[in-house]
């Protein structure tokens, strides 16, 4: 048997559709994250300045809200993908009992982990990919946050807050 993606899915399960949905979901979530964060961040950034003619000056004492507050629900798309992957696990196990009882075959295999390997591998990979991508996007957004916010407006202890928020 070829060791392509189907090797890690229930035998005979249609994968192409799921793969497309996952990729589209990831792209949409990425766009959504940057878009929502960009709007919120630019609004907050704008509030730090006042215009002195053509010149933009930082309002004395102005403070940029915490990064986690600005980030808000920007990464929601990845949370949805994570939750969907749990549904996929249920679907993978269910596949073995819906149209036929192929669960009997899976449970008779000499390799006792075969059933779980085929039901769990791809959704768990999907969860990890969603989580890692969300974290990378968070880092990029944080880069913008730190890089574009005037130093005097930044509050300390952002990282601790981010880690608590992300985990």
């Amino acid at each position: 048997m070829k060791k392509d993606l189907s090797y890690y899915a229930p035998p005979g399960m249609e994968l192409e559709q799921g793969k497309k949905v996952f990729i589209i979901g990831m792209v949409m979530s990425t766009i959504f994250s940057f878009w929502i964060f960009g709007i919120e961040f630019s609004n907050c950034l704008e509030k730090l300045y006042w215009k002195n003619g053509a010149e933009r000056c930082v309002i004395p004492g102005a403070v940029m809200p915490d990064f986690t507050v600005i980030l808000g629900g920007s990464l929601l798309g990845f949370d949805i993908i994570f939750a969907l992957m749990i549904a996929v696990i249920v679907m993978h196990y269910g596949y073995h009992t819906w149209e036929s009882k192929s669960i009997y075959t899976m449970r008779r295999l000499p390799s006792r982990w075969e059933l779980h390997r085929r039901c769990l591998t791809l959704p768990i990979c999907g969860m990890i990919i969603a989580r890692v991508t969300a974290f990378v996007i968070l880092l990029i957004c944080y880069g913008f946050y730190v890089g574009l916010t005037p130093k005097e407006c930044l509050m300390s202890g952002q990282w601790q807050k981010i880690l608590v928020w992300f985990l």
């Binding site: 048997m1 035998p11 005979g12 399960m13 149209e99 036929s100 009882k101 009997y104 449970r107 295999l109």
Partner: protein, 245 residues
């Protein structure tokens, strides 16, 4: 030798198997008969480890685990193939997981039953699905082939073809344990009949011994079940009588 010792199985509020003791040596074709809900399927599922049970089931003295499970195969009317996989995909899957899988037997049987190799199983007719289920069980390379009413939905011609093939291809070490309601049809080629009723074995007889006694399997089964052939006419009489009065 497949051996069941004091095997019992209960579902909520119901005893499905009651202290079953059974020995199944290699190289026999055994029929398992019983009314609906008698415990035939439950017994097979217990042997395969698909259900929890109390008692002991051993294969050549060893408990049945993942190490020796490949010595058992299973064909069921519920179907245990993968609906989205082609016949060819099944061949590859079985070849990968069952060391003794016989590609030659698989190919021959596919050809004999004229089944398509590249179509997914969900597109097969019910009869074809049953045939394929049996083909997989026979090709797995198992010593004990358990079949649970594998022909439900097949026509008589299909079934007769299958019986002929079965008799022709079985190796001397292969055992078939066949649960079916089609007593008359299988009586000609089974060597032993086991009768189960409400979770208990009520008869275990060699067909040859029966023949020596001048009995046939169907009569023996009816006798053992205390089947009352006159009950239909009596019931009809009663019903007709009620209408008249």
């Amino acid at each position: 030798m497949l051996e069941l010792q004091n095997v019992s199985k209960s579902y909520v509020g119901k005893k499905a198997l009651k202290n079953i003791n059974l020995q199944i040596p290699q190289g026999e074709i055994i029929g398992l008969f019983g009314e609906n809900s008698a415990g035939k399927t439950t017994m097979m599922k217990c042997i395969l480890g698909l259900l929890r049970y109390s008692g002991k089931i051993t294969l050549d003295g060893e408990p049945i685990t993942h190490k020796n499970i490949t010595r058992l195969s299973f064909a069921t009317c519920e179907h245990s193939f993968f609906p989205g996989l082609t016949a060819l995909g099944h061949k590859e899957f079985y070849g990968e997981h069952f060391q003794k899988f016989s590609e030659k037997r698989f190919d021959s049987l596919m050809k004999f039953f004229d089944l398509p190799m590249n179509k997914v199983l969900s597109s097969f007719s019910t009869g074809q699905k049953n045939q394929f289920e049996v083909i997989l069980a026979l090709s797995q390379g198992a010593d004990y082939i358990l079949m649970d009413e594998p022909f439900a939905g097949n026509d008589i011609f299909n079934r007769e073809d299958f019986y002929k093939v079965l008799l022709g291809i079985l190796e001397p070490n292969e055992t078939v344990f066949l649960s079916t309601h089609l007593i008359e049809e299988v009586s000609g080629f089974i060597g032993r009949a086991i009768l189960i009723h409400k979770g208990e074995i009520i008869g275990d007889v060699s067909v040859m011994e029966l023949e020596e006694e001048g009995k046939d399997l169907v009569s023996f089964i009816k006798e053992t079940y205390q089947y009352r052939s006159d009950r239909v006419s009596k019931a009809l009489e009663e019903m007709t009588g009620e209408e008249e009065s």
